[in-house]
């Protein structure tokens, strides 16, 4: 009964490859996010989707493309992987509605290592 799940947990790949990370939430939330945590533990928002619509797209290389087939899923596809993409990627979800702010629930993270 995991609330926010991510697959895979670990991903090791070569430079230049294309890879995807999947995220699913069973909380009935309408907003999902991707965050990147770098080697210094700094967390930064990458993307946010609300009801399958992209609402936040921070300055991220266009090699990163989020895809939301439905409001319970938000996948992250990365083309032409580079060494600097090595990080932990966290998916999160929240019930964002109207002007209130709601708690975000995080997945366990995917540790991506690019060799």
């Amino acid at each position: 009964d995991t609330a926010v799940s991510q697959t895979p947990k670990y991903l090791v790949t070569q430079m230049g490859n294309d890879k995807s990370i999947k995220c699913e939430q069973n909380l009935g939330h309408d907003t999902m996010y991707w965050y990147k945590q770098d080697s210094k533990k700094f967390l930064k928002i990458m993307f946010s989707y609300n009801n399958k619509e992209l609402i936040i797209n921070e300055t991220v290389p266009n090699r990163f493309s989020p895809k939301s087939p439905d409001k319970a899923h938000l996948n992250l596809h990365i083309n032409s992987l580079e060494l600097g993409d090595s990080a932990v990627y966290f998916c999160a979800s929240s019930q964002g509605a109207g002007s209130t702010y709601n708690e975000q629930f995080f997945g366990p993270g995917t540790r991506l290592t690019v060799l």
Partner: protein
């Protein structure tokens, strides 16, 4: 624009001692404030949150935080820490209408026996 500053990158403390982890924020709009904990090789877990109301917020595992609007601070405290509290602690701010969180750089709490 919003930003969060966690003043201490590492805080070593002995078991059963009190601890305070400092967090200051800046925001041009009303804020919502959060503390998350990340245990080694795990995801983020919410410790506590301030959305409105009482400025003293109690969270899980005996932690509490106080929202101070005049000092733009949201410091995290625990009166007596345990070895199991060793983890990375993140302060985060979210503004009304902006759904993503802005995180501080984290504070590593190291509890020693």
């Amino acid at each position: 624009a919003q930003s969060v500053t966690q003043l201490d990158s590492q805080v070593p403390v002995f078991e059963e001692a009190p601890v305070e982890l400092r967090c200051n924020y800046s925001s041009s709009v009303s804020v919502y404030l959060f503390w998350y904990v990340q245990y080694p090789n795990q995801g983020l877990q919410l410790l506590l949150k301030y959305l409105s109301g009482s400025t003293l917020v109690k969270g899980i595992n005996g932690f509490e935080a106080e929202f101070n609007k005049s000092q733009t601070s949201f410091h995290l405290r625990k009166p007596s820490v345990h070895i199991s509290d060793t983890a990375e602690y993140f302060c985060a701010v979210g503004g009304q209408g902006r759904r993503a969180l802005t995180f501080g750089s984290g504070t590593r709490l190291q509890v020693q026996p």
